[in-house]
């Protein structure tokens, strides 16, 4: 068992930090970027493609770089550190991951090739009004056969849905189960809007919209489940990056901000709370690193378990750290001009994308009687 990055991984981290960290080193740049559609910087997206970051998880045959979850996690952590608004998690990790897992040779080459090259934004239209992070669809239904299908119903919220060039859509199949389809968004009714953290989401209406099955078609519930688990683990990595910077910004503020004639770190109660934030962060980093390794080597069942465990811990920690970061900053932490509140906002969004702590607590409670203990060393 080894938690250290090898040289190539370190080089990747440095390269991504050089690009993204530099781009958003001034928080005002991020603020201006999210203020205007599409909510991220297309140039930066292209540079990420040039760096090979967009194709990391995909095989070289599909136009990717043939790396794996560790490398993807590195990118996610770096994005989290500057809360970069580029839709990496949704487009590359979630939607791209589904195509990699279930797409036909042609679909993979076409869709993932364009995605890796930065030429196409992909989105996964899955959440439905009233749904709660299940791997199934019910309000969007599919009808048809062979390669000729149509979809009807509403997906909302769909991250990056308004900007997406291609949609992967989940839909209830006539015979039961949930299928995955490739849809040209031009044929849908799309309304985009900002999310709380400056991202973008959309309502997408399907009204007999033409759709092509992803891969061989049929029930893809387990593919979606694993795709969501993967996204959970990578989202947790992104949260770790954001929490790390939140903590350091808070510690730095405590040593510089004066009240009552002294810097805030004169007040032991505040220092102790910062120490508790550090504890939350370290524990989370450990479990998220571990879950990322499980993503490399584990079965889908092990991945599901690790995803829930990482998500539970990350949910608890991101609330703790996000709330305390604002509180310890005081009034300035409430303002949009200053960065810290936006970190909390982003952590709140990440927490609710694929199931919050309570959701994963339920999942884990359902099977807690099945084992005597949890042993990460097997």
């Amino acid at each position: 068992m080894d938690f250290t990055y090898d040289d190539e991984q370190q080089a990747l981290r440095d390269a991504v930090r050089g690009l993204i960290g530099k781009k958003y080193s001034d928080f005002e740049t991020r603020r201006q970027t999210v203020a205007a559609d599409p909510g991220f910087d297309e140039t930066t997206w292209s540079r990420l493609a040039e760096l090979g970051a967009l194709g990391l998880p995909f095989s070289e045959d599909d136009g990717g770089a043939g790396a794996g979850p560790i490398e993807v996690a590195i990118v996610a952590q770096e994005l989290g550190r500057v809360i970069a608004p580029e839709p990496y998690l949704t487009s590359v990790v979630l939607a791209g991951g589904l195509v990699a897992d279930a797409g036909s040779d042609t679909q993979r080459a076409e869709i993932l090739g364009a995605l890796s090259a930065g030429e196409s934004i992909l989105a996964f239209a899955h959440d439905e009004p009233g749904s709660r992070w299940a791997p199934t669809a019910s309000k969007v239904t599919a009808s048809g056969s062979g390669d000729a299908w149509t979809l009807t119903g509403v997906k909302e919220p769909v991250l990056a849905g308004a900007r997406a060039d291609t949609l992967i859509v989940s839909a209830a199949l006539p015979e039961g189960g949930t299928g995955l389809f490739v849809v040209d968004p031009a044929n849908t009714d799309r309304t985009g809007y900002p999310t709380n953290d400056g991202g973008r989401a959309a309502r997408i209406g399907f009204n007999g919209t033409a759709a092509v099955p992803l891969g061989v078609g049929g029930d893809a519930t387990s593919v979606i489940a694993t795709g969501l688990d993967r996204a959970r683990i990578i989202a947790a990595n992104q949260a770790v990056g954001a929490m790390e910077v939140s903590l350091h910004a808070t510690a730095s503020y405590l040593t510089s901000r004066k009240q009552f004639g002294v810097t805030l770190n004169t007040f032991q109660a505040l220092n102790f709370r910062a120490a508790d934030m550090y504890i939350s962060l370290e524990l989370t980093r450990s479990i998220v690193d571990w879950a990322t390794m499980v993503l490399v080597e584990g079965t889908s069942e092990e991945i599901a378990d690790a995803a829930s465990r990482a998500a539970l811990q990350t949910s608890r920690a991101s609330r703790h750290i996000g709330q305390e970061a604002i509180q310890l900053h005081g009034g300035i932490g409430m303002t949009a001009e200053y960065s810290i509140g936006s970190y909390t906002s982003h952590l709140t969004a990440l927490d609710h994308l694929f199931g919050d702590g309570n959701h994963h607590l339920r999942v884990l409670a359902g099977k807690v009687g099945d084992h005597a203990d949890v042993d990460p060393l097997g």
Partner: protein
């Protein structure tokens, strides 16, 4: 010790309930229930209706519109307002500057300001905090220099205030200003009333992390303020501020409003409450803590005979804001994937409360910072009550 309301208090409550639910326009109460941002007009309308019924400033001296209620009646009034989704009387007018003018102002000031303040004909803003004077309010730097010449006696004000809530609507602003820079910091502060239309006053909105603009910076550049706008004595402003902040903390626990949101959350959650034991448990814990808090408010109000804030009012502020925040967090979780959709508009298939859930949660992070942060409250409890 006994449990029930007396028949008189029960009748009193019924009277309030009827007035609030029949006199205040439904659309205003709906907006509160749906956690929408209120317009200036809505706030003013509700306030004026309350004032007409004698419900805007019941805690003022009777001479100026007060009602001479018992503490329990004031508690009932405060809870029933929130229960009926009535916007509370504008706090800057009714709980802050009004009581200060009534207690320390000159007869001229009282006559000029109190009726207009009670009726929200003047919208007051608060000018206390400064960028470098947060919890350490007494370190404020905005100066008011006394000048007396052919144009008369006046103060010339220079400096910057911040976190001025709803300052964009303000007609007048009450400020703490430094009038003697040479003494211990609390000793050189005065309490000044400033017409916000005076040249040199600039209001700049601050965007908050929920995207709203409810707070502002207010700049003063050589603003000429007539000397008669000084409240009470020169350099005694700190005492008046403490009086005001004591008033502010009484009834500061937003129990009724939080209960109302929690009850709404239960409706929004629907079948989930029965399906998800952990969600049910969160409702139980929050309901129980709110019950304990409400009972504490009743117990404390029943015991503060001398009008001074009971030391336990810090408990109300601290726990009240914590629960307010916890309920807002619960609503985000109930909103599920829809919690991120803060920008969803009319065409959205998501519920309005889902879209509002995260901005409301983020906005309420302020509750434990403003109005005496929860750290300040802990300090008060430790020092004043426990002798630490």
């Amino acid at each position: 010790m006994h449990l029930k309301l007396s028949p008189e208090d029960a009748a009193f409550r019924e009277e309030l309930r009827t007035y609030f639910t029949t006199e205040i326009p439904q659309e205003i109460r709906d907006a509160v229930a749906q956690r929408r941002e209120l317009t200036k007009e809505q706030i003013v309308t509700a306030h004026k209706i309350l004032n007409k019924g004698g419900y805007a400033v019941p805690h003022w001296p009777t001479e100026w519109g007060g009602r001479g209620w018992t503490d329990l009646q004031r508690h009932i009034w405060h809870e029933e307002l929130q229960r009926a989704n009535v916007p509370l009387p504008l706090v800057f007018n009714s709980s802050m500057v009004g009581p200060v003018i009534a207690a320390f102002g000159s007869q001229e000031q009282k006559e000029k300001f109190l009726p207009a303040t009670a009726n929200l004909d003047i919208w007051w803003s608060q000018g206390f905090s400064e960028p470098d004077a947060g919890s350490d309010l007494a370190s404020l730097r905005t100066t008011a220099e006394y000048v007396e010449d052919e144009s008369g006696a006046r103060f010339v004000v220079n400096g910057q205030k911040t976190w001025t809530t709803l300052g964009q609507y303000g007609d007048w602003i009450f400020c703490l200003v430094r009038t003697d820079p040479d003494v211990k910091k609390q000793a050189g502060i005065s309490f000044l009333l400033i017409d916000m239309t005076t040249p040199g006053v600039t209001v700049r909105p601050i965007e908050l992390i929920d995207g709203g603009h409810e707070v502002n910076e207010v700049w003063f550049e050589d603003v000429q303020v007539p000397a008669e706008n000084l409240v009470g004595e020169l350099n005694r402003g700190w005492d008046y501020a403490k009086f005001l902040l004591g008033n502010e903390r009484v009834g500061v626990a937003p129990v009724g409003a939080t209960k109302r949101v929690l009850a709404s959350a239960k409706e929004w959650a629907g079948d989930l409450v029965a399906e998800d034991p952990f969600l049910a448990a969160r409702f139980v814990e929050l309901e129980n803590e709110l019950l304990a808090l409400e009972l504490t408010a009743l117990r404390v109000s029943a015991n503060s005979a001398d009008g001074k804030p009971h030391p336990a009012s810090s408990v109300l502020k601290l726990k009240g804001t914590e629960l307010q925040q916890a309920v807002s967090e619960l609503v985000v979780d109930i909103a599920g994937p829809g919690a991120i959709a803060s920008g969803a508009g009319e065409g959205s298939d998501l519920e309005h409360w889902q879209a509002r859930s995260t901005p409301a949660y983020l906005n309420l992070r302020k509750a434990s910072i403003y109005g005496g942060s929860n750290e300040v409250q802990r300090q008060i409890i430790a020092r004043t009550i426990l002798g630490l």
